[in-house]
Symmetry: C2
Subunit: 457 residues, 2 copies
């Protein structure tokens, strides 16, 4: 333990980069429920999954027993370009809030994809390349995941086909151009390149597209093109595994200074960042070695943990993927159009869902105007313009720090700052102009969506 003053930014050296990912399922007594084949209602076999995903990633997806999985050297080399990421002590925010709390954040935005998504993208691209594949397909909404995957594929000289929700493709051209700069083929979805796309275009000629439709197109393109597989940026357990590098680094950096967080906070959409950040800490809690409070923060407009149901559901709107047991609002749930930024997935990682169900993690929802208020406050003192998604965690961290101010407690708060908001300026503009609104779905809306859940055992 170092006794020197804790710096603003704690950087681990490249030699201290984690060499193994941590698989939190290995320490869970009750494991997440298995993926089911929607046709038979039986657990998916590795063979079934291998038609869609790379072989090694299928193994990782199904691996519930090995606590550590070696990170291949070529992935480590890529990580060196932007990792270890800094763990930042928010001295300026603490001062501004006048709180006795000590606030740290793990910043994942210092890479061109602008978020933590790159941690898993490079892993998935690597395994695709190692399997001798020609390329991968995926979907993207606003483009954060698609950008990360494009960078990863470019590095390994792998074809990358991204189905981008049409309205984003047309109205938010910047991320599209980043992807193209990295050599990706970006197709507005729905498109005439797939059966499902043509079907949807025939039925709804003027459609703006949706993430569900883009997933269906990407999966169809992968399974119908020799040498291709489909990859996904969140929700899956393999993604949480790769993202554990966030938590492992954060823990190593805090350990250096003998700091133990009381509260660990992350935003939650599909759960990739939150799961990655908390994994090694959760492992200690599961093994009875330490205790922490974990808080998942989700948008009030898409509250899967706080208002959803723990049940089997489709992972995609097109219902082509396996069924997963998770907290869900129903695969047909669409957040209000006024919802800015990501975190708009109807369900949640099966690992996080199970941990939440076991009472090992808390969850709360926050409204977006209060999220942007926190984002602006943070940006002005910490010098980083945060992504709307990340700002959900900032909101909760500020709220906890203000509670400490009231009680005088010197709690240590760690949160995940997943990325930057440089491609989200329309949302900031709405906030700056005072035209941003909130929307909380009614109980009836959620009940109507949940009524369409598949009927499984």
């Amino acid at each position: 333990m170092s006794t020197e003053k804790i710096p603003y930014k704690i950087f681990l050296s490249e030699e201290e980069l984690p060499r193994r990912w941590y698989n939190v399922r290995a320490d869970m007594k009750k494991k997440p429920a298995p993926l089911l084949d929607p046709a038979t209602g039986k657990p998916c076999t590795p063979e079934q999954l291998s038609a869609v995903f790379c072989d090694e990633l299928v193994k990782q997806e199904l691996n519930e027993t090995d606590p550590y999985i070696d990170i291949p050297e070529p992935i480590i080399d890529f990580y060196r370009m932007f990792r270890p990421s800094p763990l930042i002590r928010a001295y300026c925010l603490e001062k501004k809030l006048d709180t006795p709390a000590k606030i740290y954040y793990k910043f994942e935005g210092n890479n061109t994809s602008g978020s933590h998504k790159l941690n898993s993208a490079i892993a998935q691209a690597y395994y695709a390349k190692a399997q001798g594949l020609k390329g991968v397909t995926t979907e993207t909404g606003a483009g954060q995941w698609g950008t990360a995957l494009s960078m990863a594929c470019s590095y390994f000289e792998l074809d990358c086909r991204v189905y981008m929700v049409k309205v984003s493709y047309e109205q938010k051209p910047f991320r599209r151009e980043v992807m193209r700069t990295y050599g990706a083929k970006v197709t507005p979805s729905p498109s005439d390149t797939t059966d499902v796309g043509r079907r949807i275009l025939a039925e709804f000629p003027g459609t703006n597209g949706s993430l569900g439709c883009a997933i269906s197109e990407a999966v169809e393109a992968a399974v119908s093109t020799p040498g291709y597989r489909y990859v996904l940026g969140s929700v899956l357990s393999q993604v949480l595994l790769h993202q554990s590098v966030i938590g492992l680094e954060a823990k190593a950096a805090l350990d250096k200074y003998g700091v133990k967080p009381d509260i660990i906070i992350g935003c939650a959409g599909g759960g990739s960042n939150l799961g990655g950040l908390i994994s090694p800490f959760m492992g200690e809690k599961l093994r009875g070695e330490a205790d922490y409070r974990f808080i998942a923060v989700e948008p009030a407009s898409c509250p899967s943990l706080t208002r959803g149901k723990y049940a089997y559901d489709f992972c995609d709107t097109g219902k082509v993927c396996p069924l997963q047991k998770m907290y869900t609002l129903g695969s047909g749930f669409m957040p209000s159009p006024n919802h800015a930024g990501g975190l708009r997935y109807h369900g949640m990682s099966s690992i996080l869902s199970e941990l939440y169900d076991q009472g090992l993690m808390e969850a709360r929802s926050v409204e977006q105007t209060s999220v942007f208020e926190a984002a602006e406050q943070f940006a002005r003192v910490e010098g980083i313009l945060p992504a709307p998604e990340s700002s959900h965690a900032i909101r909760a961290a500020i709220d906890e720090a203000l509670k400490c101010k009231e009680t005088g407690e010197e709690k240590t708060i760690l949160f995940g700052l997943t990325g930057t908001g440089y491609f989200d300026m329309y949302a900031y503009e709405a906030y700056n102009n005072g035209t941003m609104t909130d929307y909380i779905p009614t109980d009836e809306e959620i009940a109507a969506s949940l009524a369409k859940l598949p009927h499984i055992g």
Copy 2:
């Protein structure tokens, strides 16, 4: 000297942050020519300059003798949020180019302003605050400097009024919104808030604005508003002084591993980044302690060093600022509208102009399609999407590395990667679509512009 393998990213610790800026003028035998009052043709007095600039900054502007100037502690504290910036060994680019050259770049883009501009913005904001001023004014084109200044003013709770070229304000709203998020008041220029703005609007009602007009408005707003001063993001010697932190850190990082660069390359618009990067190395060369090749890289469409004249000229199109002796294309010179990104200033830092005139530095110009080709090549292997400005340096660095490949020489190349291109995606789009063009001004165009230089001794 460390004998371990040089990592991808060399990070200095916060304790190693430079505590003093380096003033290269102190080591120049022949100093840059003084600023002149356009009304009298005589050197500007500190009193004259203090009407426009903060007192302490006037002292720095005129200080040709002190080699080192202490960095005030509050500026150091702000620097801690994003400095020391990484010095990166471009292992992946070297491999891609298959060159024996060793390439390093000092990356200044890991902060929300997205560039090195923040290094001087925070200094200028600090001195304004320390003088008890209420606020500062400035102009911005695409918004890089305005963003940096907004962040700095927000930190010191200083009013910030930015006059933004109207066409950028309307067509590139993203940086405008970043500035507003940091609390700046952003006004499209020309505006009805100043005499000069009203005059121009009356004469040219449909004008898109220009940087020259925005400077004139910002200066007028500063001198006519009690408690305000004007600040500028490049060209001035005080700015090069603040930016010397780039070179000081780069040198300290290289020294740690016993590395001595053979060639040091930077893009050059007004000269703030290039001057900052090379200053401490140039100091060694001026003192006869070491030798380096320095290469300034400018756009072929705005070639002040390579095709301009070394003469006194106006610093601004509105002719309200002092006269400066510099390499210039004439204050009325406008780069072709097809020119993407910055580096569009008609003149050059007086320090760099004098060093170039003395033969201590080389200069070359490059065309923008070849710049974007280098940018894309760099992005795909190094994982950072560079700003168009920075990519001029990348172009030259790649060219030098390819020469080494031909000759087999293992030269060490250092270049400045000033920032990221996240707000320049229209230019990348044009490159991706194959619609980007080049333009080289004719000799007649440049001669016509130079014919209007002021007649000074």
